[in-house]
Amino acid sequence: MSSEVMGYNAAMGLGLVEEMRRDAEIFVLGQGVATGGWFGAEKGLASEFGLDRVIDCGISEAFEAGLAAGAAIVGMKPVINMGFGDFALIAGDEIYHKLAKWRYMHGLDVPMTAVIIFPIGTMGGAGPEHSSCTEVLGMHFPGLKVVVPSTPEDAKGLMKAALREPNPVLFHSVQGLGWARGEVSTDPEFIVPIGKAATPRQGRDLTIVTYGSMVPRSLEAADTLAGEGIDCEVIDLRSLVPLDWDCVLESVSRTNRAMVVHEAAKTAGPGAEIAAQIQERIFFDLEAPVLRVGGKDFPLPQHSDLEAMSIPSVDAIADTARRLFAI
């Protein structure tokens, strides 16, 4: 299969373009999307698809998400770039009630496609209101699918899957990976199925369950640890809803040790649920408690040096893995 090296945001944009070519019901709306988008993923969309399908709006996040729900209910396939994951809270009713529950409340088993793009995480000084990892909200409120790609190829493949998915998807693009580059399939039928994890590194001694910005850091930590004789398996969840429990439990039941790593704040973050379920479901396969490495339970600092100290570093991941291995 043919592939091409490209950036994370460009790959996400390519997924969008390919799907817009095959499906006239898809439209894109957000702040600045017609002028190329804040992060470049929408570059060229307006000139190819016209301003009817690539629509700029004012600062109105509740409207944007509510509009997505309304348009999706009548069968269109809106893609809304919300600018920042933090803004999920501004549009909370529209996302976690309307998009998530409309069909459920009305007793309707019908398709409803909508993709809400939430750029999440730190990017070097965006400050406490533009750097949050809000993906756990989508796990807590039922009715949505939740994805977090960690590679350019997954960004493309998950975007395409989201646009073929008959349920609303919260698509968390990782701000810190915006400029990451990698091989991306150019096959227009290439998709990454929602709900399927990847195992970018296989290992025998312990399992690092992670996703998003912490995938490259966990892989780097695993490389270091390999030199010390600790053989880590790294699972990139890619989707948080549905979460690929089969993959996680199969791995941990083999390695007997697990840790969860994410940029999101540690307390009540996705890792809390993942750790709890591992010990609930395969307690007797475990040689050690499930450990967690997460962001500090403080607002993210505006100062980029302090920001960097607030989220898990490669060293912190490696240290925790050593501790886990020693138990």
């Binding site: 509740a62 009713d93 009630h97 009305h106 309707l108 009715g143």
Partner: protein, 315 residues
């Protein structure tokens, strides 16, 4: 604008009578039997929904708020689906999920549903209106809301864009002057909700909300304007909430003389019908509702499997 023809008038009166019969029945039902949640009576306000829905086409999109049942009935939903749902039975519109707050939808007749977080209808209707603009399908979207809900931020966020983009959207306010027990004047800087229209450069129309024909004509005009691509209209129907905010509300906040000039919308519409058809239609409607109620009482209750239904669609 032409007035509704006699056949349409009769249909309006029939639907209003059905909604009224449901009102009367629900007041008794909520007092005497087990009821899940609260019933928000719509008696006195029926002319607004009946007039407005009569002016819409079958495939126009209706996003309504949850007082009474006349919006869904007006758009063509069967009384049985509504009563079954209010009683929480499997034969209701949501197939077993029902109770006090209505979530009745039938996309095939443009009944798009209700959001119980008030003010959610604005962006939803904005979304369906934008869809119509993209698809050029000629449909109109109507967002119905109470006067108290005009304070929501989504009111502004949506109308700013709808006016700028000339979306085929109607904001329809049922102004009964009350937000539960708070008078509108205490929380709004304008005397009328329609006054807000000025800021958006759109027509703001005030209409007698006790007269279904006046409402019909105003809505017809707004829908025609929307279909011509001239953009949204804000209609404000001045209505009267005849009962409490919810069934059982002691309403200590209401004045003794509040209903002295009350004009019942059923009487106002009845006077417009030919001959003595009003009485016959009202009797038919009552019989229809009574039969639907009996059927709902006898219908099966939901079991626990309903809890896990309709969360995700599987293709």
């Amino acid at each position: 604008m032409p007035a509704p023809d006699p056949a349409l008038l009769e249909q309006m009166f029939h639907r209003m009578s059905v909604a009224r019969a449901i009102e009367r029945l629900m007041l008794v039902h909520t007092r005497e039997r087990k009821f899940s949640g609260w019933w928000h009576p719509g008696e006195g306000q029926e002319a607004a929904p009946i007039g407005a829905t009569a002016a819409l086409e079958r495939d126009d999109y209706l996003w309504y708020q949850g007082r009474g049942s006349a919006w869904a009935i007006g758009k063509g939903m069967a009384a049985g689906l509504i009563l079954g749902d209010l009683l929480g039975k499997m034969n209701g519109a949501t197939r077993g999920k029902g109770g006090g707050v209505p979530h009745w939808a039938d996309y095939s007749i443009g009944v798009m549903g209700e959001g119980a977080t008030l003010g959610s209808v604005y962006p939803l209707a904005g979304g369906s209106a934008l869809a119509s603009r993209i698809r050029k399908d000629g449909r109109v979207s109507l967002a119905d809301f109470g006067d108290g809900t005009s304070a929501r931020g989504t009111f502004h966020e949506t109308m700013v864009h709808a006016a700028a983009w000339k979306l085929p959207l109607i904001y329809f306010c049922e102004n009964n002057g009350l937000l539960v027990g708070t008078r509108l004047g205490e929380v709004s800087p304008t005397e009328n909700i329609a006054d807000f229209a000025k800021g958006y450069g759109i027509p703001g129309i005030i209409v007698d909300g006790q007269d279904a024909v006046a409402v019909y004509e105003a809505t017809r005009e707004a829908a025609a304007r929307a279909r011509r691509g001239e953009g949204p209209t804000l209609i404000e129907a001045k209505v009267v909430r005849r009962h409490g905010h919810y069934a059982g509300d002691p309403q200590k906040y209401r004045a003794d003389d509040e209903f002295d000039d009350y004009r019942d919308p059923v009487d106002v519409l009845a006077a417009r019908l030919r001959g003595n058809s009003a009485e016959r239609i009202a009797q038919e409607a009552e019989a229809e509702v009574k039969a639907a109620y009996e059927e709902a009482l006898a219908a099966p209750e939901p079991d626990a499997s309903v809890i896990e239904r309709d969360l995700y669609h599987v293709q």
